[in-house]
């Protein structure tokens, strides 16, 4: 979190993390498509010709002034594919809150778990733990036939019982609720520690 007193700005960094093709970029694209132009900046995507994120997506959003302060939310995604591990670590630098976008399809369960462990490992290197860090889970692709039950996903992935949401990011289902929840977790986290 970066606070600039002169401009009364509060900057938060939120990172969307998760396995490849789970819908991280789709979350940002939906947010970008729905927000009032005065509250959002450009959505920048660093991707391959095949439309896969190679480094990150980035977008800044605002909500106007609150008690004279101007909160700004910097949203990033990470590349989900396994071999971009170093890039994921790099993007976590200075992160305040995380959205873990899990893929609800049964055959992606292992990839979800592997990526969550990768996240924990990366957080540890910065002296954070999943247990105390502000994060939320989005179980995405709920509309797909044969999607894993929420109970099963909860059991395998949400062992710290953080807020979770069912999502269909292509339609926008759960997208804003997820974002609101992670921002709330970050703000609560700051307040609890003052």
């Amino acid at each position: 979190m970066f606070i600039n007193w002169a401009l009364q700005e509060i900057n938060l960094k939120i990172v969307y993390y998760g396995p490849g093709m789970s819908g991280k970029t789709t979350n940002l694209e939906y947010i970008h498509s729905k927000l009032d132009p005065s509250l959002k900046g450009d959505l920048v995507s660093l991707k391959t010709k095949e439309d896969r994120t190679i480094f990150f997506d980035f977008m800044q959003i605002e909500v106007g002034r609150i008690k004279g302060k101007k909160p700004k939310f910097n949203l990033y995604t990470v590349p989900g594919q396994v071999y971009y591990a170093s890039s994921r670590k790099v993007i976590l630098n200075g992160v305040d809150g995380i959205v873990f976008v899990a893929d609800s399809q049964p055959h992606r369960m292992e990839a979800n778990i592997e990526t969550l462990l990768d996240l924990e490992n990366n957080l540890k290197q910065d002296n954070h733990t999943l247990e105390s860090f502000p994060w939320v889970v989005q179980y995405n692709k709920r509309d797909l036939p044969g999607a894993e039950s929420v109970e099963a996903l909860q059991k395998r992935l949400n062992f710290f019982n953080v807020p979770y949401f069912e999502g269909v990011a292509v339609r926008g289902d759960g997208v804003f609720n997820t974002l609101k929840a992670v921002i709330n977790s970050v703000v609560q986290n700051v307040q609890n520690q003052l």
């Binding site: 970066f2 600039n4 002169a6 900046g41 909500v63 630098n93 200075g94 954070h128 609101k180 003052l194």
Partner: protein, 170 residues
């Protein structure tokens, strides 16, 4: 160094006071005048733009800062892979019309100087080096820190923020 508050979960809050911001802006203005740079940005390593000078009207400096921070982060991983124990201190991108010179300011901040190829790199280097010294000094000066700043995010703020988010995300 600049006021940094460490939270229990290990995350950091970096707080820049008003006096520091004024001096930073002044240093950037001087650098812009002396080097005739097209644009100068000062940002933190997580990619948040702090101050900018020069002709930035047609430049998306928010995105430029985020990309530059990632540039730094990526090259510091590269440094490790090639056996360089420290981080790379400066990055230089050479174009046909414009060049970009990036240099770190302490561990947590960096400076981006965008300039036309007609300006010599030597000139940029000399003045940027001086500016960085000045920036490091002001970041270490905590005399302008405000007392009672603990309340920047109080419970009132979080309630109002919740309402604002509801409004925005309708």
């Amino acid at each position: 160094m600049v006021q940094t508050r460490k939270l229990k979960d290990g995350s950091r809050q970096i707080i820049l006071n008003g006096k520091q911001y004024d001096v930073i802006t002044k240093v950037l203005s001087e650098l812009a005048t002396k080097t005739k740079a097209s644009a100068i940005l000062f940002a933190d390593m997580s990619g948040q733009l702090i101050s900018q000078r020069g002709n930035t009207d047609n430049m998306n400096t928010t995105v430029l800062s985020a990309l530059a921070a990632s540039d730094f982060a990526a090259t510091s991983e590269m440094a490790k892979l090639v056996g360089e124990e420290a981080k790379f201190k400066l990055l230089f991108h050479e174009g046909e019309k414009r060049n970009v010179y990036l240099s770190n300011v302490g561990d947590n901040f960096f400076l981006v100087v965008v300039f036309d190829v007609s300006v010599t790199l030597g000139l940029i280097r000399i003045y940027t080096k001086k500016a960085i010294e000045d920036l490091v000094t002001v970041l270490e000066d905590t005399s302008g820190d405000q007392a009672g700043d603990d309340n920047i995010i109080d419970s009132d703020f979080s309630t109002l923020l919740g309402d604002a988010l509801d409004d925005t995300f309708k």
